[in-house]
């Protein structure tokens, strides 16, 4: 049943209610009601995803293909010029979407896997396990995570795998706290008790009884955590201890081309070049924040009307 959103009729409302909407039609309705900022955010995220997945199709040159002219100006051949050893910056930006965003997504997923499952386990058991995990998290959170990450990277060395594991473990502390806090309210519900009496295992209770009920705050937290992880990885790469060359990555690209800023007086485009990867980072975090804002607003039940 199609419904014109401009006109309101009781029959339309009831009719639409009786006919159970499919997931797709509910999604379409939600999107229709979404504010401009959220639409902008979703469009940006979609574009980034497409570029990241099909990077080799979009990039005019290879990721580490070196051309004879370093620091070439913007031209039709090299859209954003070349970097300090003559690699095409536009191509590296596109491959950077794949590497930087991909690593950040993997890290966030791992952080949620660790923090989420431990948080659920702690909330269900409420025993020495809960005490032990909560106190360990308190200690881990007592040191700024960037400093902690620097210490761990100096021990284990800067490889992509180490980077993902270190940041994921440090960030899972916050996921743990949130999951535990929201799950504790659900664990005491009667239906969880019923499931327990029915003889279900802890895995079933976690997955089928508790998880669906704490999904909205976790999804919103996923967006915010992603931003945080993305910014910390970019900062570490910018400092030269994160993703290592020749892998194209936005954080290290800013660092490598930073000296071009000095030439902004003579050629503004050259001065803007190092800001492009930084702007790419900023745009994605702002976009994710917009979408998370809308999602929180929608699921918290607050209505503007």
């Amino acid at each position: 049943m199609t419904q014109d959103p401009e006109t309101y009729s009781a029959l339309g409302e009831v009719g639409a209610f009786q006919e159970r909407r499919t997931l797709w039609s509910r999604l379409k309705l939600d999107l229709k009601k979404s504010p401009m900022t959220a639409r902008f955010g979703m469009a940006v995220i979609l574009i980034y995803a497409v570029v990241a997945i099909f990077a080799p199709l979009f990039a005019p040159y290879g990721e580490a293909e070196v051309f004879p002219i370093p620091y070439a100006p913007w031209s039709s051949e090299f859209i954003f010029g070349t970097d300090q050893i003559g690699r095409d910056i536009f191509s590296r930006m596109i491959f950077g979407a794949r590497n930087t965003v991909g690593i950040a997504v993997a890290t966030t997923l791992l952080a949620f896997l660790i923090g989420g499952s431990l948080g659920l386990a702690a909330a269900i058991s409420r025993s020495w396990l809960d005490q032990f995990l909560s106190r360990s998290v308190d200690v881990l959170m007592a040191i700024p995570s960037l400093i902690f990450a620097l210490v761990l990277l100096s021990i284990f060395g800067s490889t992509v795998l180490n980077l993902i594991i270190i940041i994921a473990v440090l960030d899972s502390t916050r996921v743990f706290r949130l999951t535990r806090a929201v799950a504790i309210n659900v664990v005491v519900m009667d239906y969880v008790e019923a499931a327990r009496l029915r003889g279900e295992g802890i895995g079933w209770i976690m997955r089928r009884e508790i998880l669906p009920n704490i999904m909205p705050p976790l999804v919103a937290e996923f967006g915010l955590r992603f931003c945080f992880v993305f910014l910390s990885i970019a900062a570490l790469s910018f400092l030269g201890v994160g993703i290592q060359p020749p892998t194209a990555d936005w954080g290290s690209m800013v660092r490598e081309n930073a000296s071009l800023i000095q030439f902004a007086q003579y050629d503004l485009k050259a001065g803007l070049t190092p800001l492009l990867p930084a702007a790419a980072i900023a745009l994605l975090t702002v976009a994710v924040n917009f979408v998370v804002d809308w999602f929180l607003h929608k699921t918290s039940g607050i209505r503007d009307e």
Binding site: V139, A142, P144, I147, V151, A235, L275, V286
Partner: protein, 326 residues
């Protein structure tokens, strides 16, 4: 015992315990190094004897708890060990004590952080309180949007935009903050203008939003409404009724953001080549110079924990419920 003193002592004990565990974690950094790091530090040509001597110097032939006791004892007395760099295969040792490397830089970092704090704290309190008072006005919305944007972008983006605008296009300030001990104060401040501005922008955004939220939260409580209904003026409501309860959240906000400053300086120091502890630490991580990393991490962690502890204690001693127990 007065309940306030009891709570403060409890919190102090907890802080000390945290500091102890954190120091163990930082200490174990050297424990987790791969077995062949002696060769890595001294170079391929190192003989078995020099490597053995180096390991003995680090005390690797003693049990870990003995070394921890020694390490923490020395650290308390201001000795953080010897840097890994400057050693070579022949056994000639030109390495310097870590403290000698850190001390002058620590002063620089503290200077940068305190100047930023002196500017940022009053500014963000004023912005936060005023935007809470004129909530939902155009002024409030503008400040909100501006701060939300500065929060969501990386620090180095803010830093490079300022550098592009104020050092390159309109050269008002120098782009590099390469100060040393001999630099006179005026020149030092002009060289540090851009790092200070970057840090201020980032930290004011956080602080202002948290202050605003704390005040709005408070102004919505029933006892403020009661005061209003009983005829108190706006300034009376804020100074006499709201502020006594707001000290705790405001102190937390300030301490939390000063602690955030500790992390913020690392990136900003690298961008502007400012000779501070953050830059030293990043360089040490790149060369895997573990004693220097440990020293810097210990200082950063200590500052962070102490600032958070201060915030908690201020929160406790300004809490009217604890001050006047039933």
């Amino acid at each position: 015992m007065h309940p306030v003193i009891k709570t403060v002592l409890e919190r102090l004990g907890l802080g000390l315990a945290t500091l102890f565990i954190v120091s163990i974690i930082i200490f174990s950094a050297i424990e987790m190094l791969p077995g062949d790091f002696g060769e890595a530090v001294l170079g391929q040509a190192a003989t078995k004897e020099t490597v053995a001597a180096f390991r003995r110097e680090l005390g690797l032939d003693e049990p870990a708890y003995m070394r921890y006791a020694q390490w923490i004892g020395n650290a308390v007395q201001g000795d953080l060990g010897t840097s890994f760099s400057g050693r070579n295969a022949s056994g000639v040792d030109r390495s310097r004590p870590v403290v000698e490397l850190i001390a002058p830089r620590l002063w620089n970092t503290l200077f940068l952080a305190s100047v930023t704090a002196i500017i940022a704290v009053p500014l963000s309190l004023a912005l936060g309180i005023s935007s809470a008072l004129y909530r939902n006005s155009i002024y409030d919305r503008t400040v909100n949007t501006a701060t939300l944007t500065t929060i969501s972008v990386p620090e180095f983006f803010v830093a490079y935009i300022l550098m592009l605008l104020l050092a390159s296009l309109w050269p008002v300030f120098p782009s590099l903050a390469n100060v040393d001990a001999a630099t006179p104060l005026a020149e030092r401040l002009s060289k540090m203008a851009l790092p200070i501005m970057t840090l201020t922008l980032v930290i004011v955004a956080h602080m202002m939003r948290m202050t605003r939220a704390a005040i709005i939260n408070l102004l919505a409580s029933p006892y403020i409404q009661m005061a209003r209904l009983s005829g108190a003026s706006q300034s009376e409501v804020i100074i006499k009724h709201a502020l006594p309860n707001a000290w705790a959240p405001i102190a937390t906000v300030i301490a939390f953001n000063l602690a955030y400053l500790v992390v913020g300086v690392v990136v900003v120091e690298v961008v502007f080549v400012y000779p501070g502890v953050g830059q030293l630490m990043v360089d040490a991580v790149k060369t895997r110079n573990v004693p220097v990393v440990q020293g810097c991490a210990l200082i950063f962690a200590m500052t962070y924990i102490l600032l958070n502890l201060t915030a908690d204690i201020i929160g406790i001693i300004t809490n009217p419920r604890l001050l006047h127990p039933k």
